[in-house]
């Protein structure tokens, strides 16, 4: 090669940490720019928290309504980002060939999945900060240790991510959109988020208690409202969902 032109080949992958950081930043920007996503992840949890804390719509039992609601809304925030939002976004990325195109870029697949997880975690941190500030303004007085809360949030994120990616990687994008919203709505009502599980019949309670959203919201409530230690039964339920969901997603996810 005697001369060097503009396009003279000089191939090479960027360092993998830089690729993942860039990918996570882009995914987070896409998420925060999307109006429908913000409705799910920010507007609905905030409205529910404010509305149900201030107006006596549902009987939330003894004590301040916000002490019951705040843990449930935190669980809802995790579900909205890790499950609903991630399923819809990934479903459309698959549909529009984004996953396909990225698969031929230097970014390895595990790097893409890591970046997605980072993006979900960053969004959740922003949600938790926002909702915590609002809850405090509404008179929230949380108890319990931060370690147990963190453990619940991380395992909940893993469980919901697995289920969201399973849906995104197997269904058509439109079906994912519809199903993810429907599941969001059903779990919002039946998962102990704003309606206490005790309101349901006994038989239903034992089944509903095995849902990931119920395990997360009840676990967070045990710690934050009742000052419990580490809620092992709920963590166990979330761990099983995480293993099943992520395992099935890894097995059945189709990239195009």
């Amino acid at each position: 090669m005697t001369t060097t032109g503009t396009y003279t080949p000089k191939p090479g992958a960027a360092p993998v940490a830089r690729m993942i950081a860039a990918q996570a930043a882009l995914e987070t920007r896409m998420l925060l720019r999307n109006g429908e996503q913000l409705l799910l992840t920010v507007v609905i949890p905030t409205l529910l928290l404010v509305l149900f804390s201030s107006v006596d719509v549902v009987d939330t039992g003894d004590g301040e309504a916000v002490d019951f609601l705040a843990p449930g809304i935190l669980a809802l925030a995790v579900m909205s980002t890790a499950f609903t939002g991630q399923a819809i976004a990934t479903g459309f990325e698959r549909r529009y060939g984004v996953l396909k195109r990225l698969a031929s870029s230097p970014l390895p697949r595990w790097g893409l999945m890591t970046a997605k997880t980072v993006s979900v975690l960053v969004t959740e941190v922003l949600q938790v900060i926002l909702l915590t500030v609002i809850a405090f303004a509404l008179g929230w007085s949380p108890h319990g240790g931060p370690f147990a809360v963190l453990l619940l949030l991380v395992l909940g994120t893993a469980a919901f991510s697995g289920l969201g990616l399973l849906m995104a990687g197997t269904l058509k994008a439109e079906a994912t959109l519809a199903a993810a919203n429907l599941v969001f709505l059903l779990l919002l009502v039946g998962g102990g988020v704003v309606v206490p599980l005790e309101k349901f019949p006994d038989a239903a309670q034992s089944v509903l208690g095995l849902l990931p959203i119920a395990a997360l919201s009840e676990g967070l409530r045990d710690v934050l409202r009742d000052g419990a230690g580490v809620p092992w039964p709920q963590l166990g339920v979330l761990a099983v969902w995480a293993v099943l969901g992520l395992g099935a997603a890894a097995r059945f996810f189709r990239w195009e």
Binding site: T6, P9, S104
Partner: protein, 307 residues
């Protein structure tokens, strides 16, 4: 020159269910520009996507830069640029944002601003991908394929649906890539594109390569050529035919418009003009029609419409 071909496909078979998309295809692409031509459904995209590592061959072997596209994917991906037939960009991303992102995945990317300027993507501004015109989306996909300074780029129908200006811009970029030592494999069903750009053309039909060679070789080979002239109506074409070599034909298509087919060489041209001179005919508008790639293509792949 590199000793091994850039792309080497041998006896490739790829089926989707009961349908055989690629049926024992052999293709060798060297340095420079290789165009893969074929009607819809011929197996162009399947072949390219197998080379890109998206599909596993059901039989046969594929080597790209000497590597296996599936097994050696990690080593190959930084060295190869890919332009998909459509999509590949977040619907909410802006053109420059997506291009900068792909650049960040590479160690020595091109200057993104210069590339945006070069491909006329500067006017996209803050418009998200889904609201870009089809031509802008195509040019962005092209830019994404080259921004990582690859050794080889695969372009799947790079100018489909482009206006003439955008098409020229794409052609110019392909020529510059070639001049700077980047190998290009592109699919197209535009004959002029293959004629303009390609060092080598492979014509694919029904999952097989039916002809391969430079555009000149393909146009020269086999097919008959045509000589036309106009003159006084009612010339004795039978007499003209007697003066010509045995395998020629001569006919008066419309009054005063004559056509001679056969192997048109300087000798035959001289024979026709001297016959005209002997008969006091001034052959107006004499023309020799070389076969175009389109003629060769239609001859090889048939004229009926494909689904």
């Amino acid at each position: 020159m590199r000793s091994e071909p850039v792309v080497q496909v041998a006896a490739l078979v790829k089926r989707y269910g009961t349908k055989t998309a690629v049926d024992g295809l052999d293709l060798v692409a060297g340095e420079g520009v290789t165009a893969v031509l074929g009607p819809n459904g011929a197996g162009k995209t399947t072949t390219i996507e197998t080379c890109e590592g998206y599909r596993r061959p059901d039989a046969g072997t594929v080597r790209v830069l000497g590597l296996d596209p599936v097994r050696d994917s990690a080593a190959l991906r930084p060295r190869v640029g890919v332009m998909l037939q459509s999509g590949g960009v977040y619907s909410g991303a802006r053109a420059d944002e997506m291009l900068r992102h792909v650049a960040r995945l590479h160690a020595h990317p091109l200057d993104v601003d210069a590339l945006i300027e070069r491909l006329g993507l500067g006017g996209c501004g803050r418009t998200s991908y889904r609201r870009l015109s089809g031509g802008q989306q195509q040019r962005l996909a092209l830019a994404m394929a080259v921004v990582g300074r690859p050794e080889l780029v695969f372009l799947d129908e790079p100018t489909a649906g482009l206006d003439p200006q955008a098409r020229r811009a794409t052609w110019d970029l392909v020529r510059d890539l070639r001049a700077d030592g980047v190998s290009v494999v592109l699919t197209t069903h535009y004959m002029d594109e293959a004629e303009q750009l390609a060092d080598d053309v492979a014509i694919i039909d029904a999952g097989r390569v039916v002809a391969q060679g430079s555009p000149e070789e393909l146009c020269r080979g086999g097919a008959e050529n045509t000589l036309r002239f106009t003159g006084r109506p009612g010339l004795d074409v039978g007499a003209l035919l007697k003066a010509l070599p045995a395998d020629c034909t001569a006919a008066e298509l419309t009054p005063g418009a004559y056509r001679v087919t056969g192997k048109i060489d300087p000798q035959l041209l001289a024979t026709v003009t001297s016959w005209c001179a002997q008969h006091g005919v001034m052959p107006d508008r004499i023309s020799v029609e070389r076969h175009t790639l389109e003629d060769v293509f239609l001859e090889l792949t048939g004229k009926e419409l494909r689904s």
